[in-house]
Subunit: 376 residues, 2 copies
């Protein structure tokens, strides 16, 4: 625990330095049911449901919904129950500013996701301060950039998380070939049980299992049912395990006695995956890889309806983003862990997606997970 | 399906009427990963990940992330893929305004949760319109109020969802007494399997199972593990099943050979539960019930660290809220479905919570679910 505390403290030190540069006296981080922000956990160890205030005087205050949980997990200089402030962020912010003795007129940054109506309440109530809420160059972006590049400890966690993921993939394949996985639920049940048995917190997001009748959806709905899985056609299984907070994210497709048209789709996906993987290099503009894969599919008259990949970490989706959108300026850097996940979906044929987690190194891409197309 | 479409259309008609009264030409609803809004599903049947635009000329446009899924579930006058707008809400909003021929200078309401930085982009880009983003009296509040009172079809769904929930509770008790549930994971596994077998979409939220070593957390972290469950002390199990979109939400506590102090806590919870239930009446101010329970606990020197209950529906937490906070003005009305869930937590003794789902009728409270303290 002492070791972990040091990690959180070091991360906060980085933020204090940045705050001093920016002339910010205080920043607020919020993780709430209506808007999750894993930066809370990244900076304090507290897994969820709290506010965190940082003062440029290098002090931190954690305001948790559950004080017992905070005593177990939360690292901060002070802890004060959210109930003291009627669970109202503005009230807690007033208290933090007083406790930290923030001078009048100082700049105080609140989360970029703060809604416009709530922003108005902040500026009305904290009218002695210069309340800032911004996307570009704000605390949210700084945290996103810092979190996108994993440190040694985080990479170590990822190697272990990937090892567990790969064990589960192997077991899934074995059970599929043995005819023991008959339904979507069977597949998910295996994942949920194994990941916990192997020491994970759980899954990183709701597992998605879609048999041939439902795989045409990018993210099938409902997430999984008792429908057949792995029967003739294309079945998709998308899951991740959460190990010490960090989630993997893989997708495998089961192609059972595929028709010629289905086999053509599967082959395209495998080629697109290799193409993308070969382009993962330090310094590459992430969007270029996504555009290249879009162009590859376009040659066959196909369109991928989602992004090519994304960073993973404490969130299942975080920076950098590998998507072909004009506003995407992410550069790949060593230490980033990203998914590569080309997918194609057809209302008649079903869908096919192959997704693995990749560590960007100064040597190129290192595949951490070993998901694949399973042909039956 | 035709029947369901009529329901969505009727709900939209209500909104059109309100828009005309308010002088609004267009409203936007958004469900996205970063901010969920089940009103999307309530108004269009589309379960997730889409924008919905409504024009006062009584037309609707659905902009889904997954066009295949929208064709299966989405009901709207027009559907247009989100990819056409680079998955940018502002771009889609410009298109919708053009498609609906919204006159310049008209009032256009965007979601109350729109962040301040994004709000600025809306007013910059749609500078021909009067962009409105508000909490009180806005579209969000109107939808919350409408959704809080369930119609006959929704109550019918709830009776079925409760029946399934009760079957699962009975099975849990049976298996616990037979010694077949040994770990937190065993309990959750039973729920996940049974709810799907009985025709549910899944669970309404991540099930929380906390054995005696972890039940002191309001919402234990991680949600469930392979730790012992139902052994000496207090174990908490909090879950809900999602049936046709609507979730139940119940908590049972297993009190196994409780110490005198633990038994005292359990008895207090049972009394508080009955007290609260007896106060559920049409026209009652929800906050009054919560204050009464707070006062009841205070007499024993105890503090409940969370709200007494909340509405349930397409969301696991929605209006009305039964909490003792000054800003809570919800009145109970027939057709509301709420949880009643007193809870106490102690770092040494563990936690105890009892939660059931209750339909408000003109005769008082009707308990839909039959969760209870299970004494072993």
């Amino acid at each position: 625990m002492a070791h972990k505390q040091k990690i959180y403290q070091r991360r906060r030190e980085n933020i204090y330095d940045w705050m001093a540069q920016e002339g910010l006296s205080m920043v607020m981080i919020e993780d709430a049911e209506s808007r999750r922000d894993s930066s809370l956990r990244w900076l304090s160890g507290m897994p969820a449901d709290a506010l965190l205030f940082l003062s440029v005087e290098r002090k931190s205050l954690l305001v948790p919904w559950d004080i017992n949980l905070a005593k177990l997990y939360g690292d901060a200089d002070s802890i004060c129950a959210y109930n003291e402030f009627d669970r109202l962020p503005v009230k807690a912010c007033v208290y933090a500013a007083e406790m930290f003795k923030i001078p009048r007129g100082s700049r105080v940054e609140i989360p970029s996701g703060t809604s416009y109506p709530r922003f108005l309440r902040f500026i009305e109530t904290l009218d002695n301060f210069d309340i800032i809420c911004r996307e570009s160059e704000g605390i949210g972006v700084v945290l996103e950039q810092l979190r996108a590049v994993k440190d040694e400890g985080e990479i170590c966690i990822y190697r272990k998380a990937a090892e567990i993921t790969n064990q589960i993939i192997d077991l899934l394949e074995k059970q599929l070939r043995a005819g023991k996985i008959k339904t979507e639920y069977n597949a998910v049940q295996l994942i949920e049980g194994e990941c916990r048995r192997l020491g994970c917190e759980g899954t990183g997001f709701e597992s998605l299992a879609a048999g041939p009748g439902r795989s045409m959806g990018i993210h099938c709905f409902p997430a999984y049912t008792v429908s057949p899985f792995g029967t003739q056609g294309l079945s998709i299984l998308d899951f991740g395990v959460k190990y010490q907070g960090y989630t993997t994210d893989v997708t495998l497709t089961v192609a059972a006695e595929p028709t010629r048209a289905q086999e053509r789709m599967v082959t395209l996906i495998e080629k697109a995956y290799k193409l993308a993987l070969g382009m993962v290099h330090e310094g590459t503009l992430a969007t270029d890889i996504a555009f290249m894969v879009d162009a590859f599919f376009a040659k066959s008259g196909m369109v991928m309806p989602h992004g090519l990949g994304h960073g993973i970490g404490l969130d299942a989706h975080e920076g950098p983003y590998l998507r072909s959108r004009g506003d995407n300026r992410w550069l790949l850097r060593p230490g980033m862990v990203v998914t590569v996940e080309p997918g194609l979906y057809d209302p008649r044929l079903g869908g096919c997606r192959l997704e693995n987690d990749v560590l960007v190194t100064d040597q190129g891409a290192e595949e951490l997970t070993a998901s694949r197309i399973i042909r039956l």
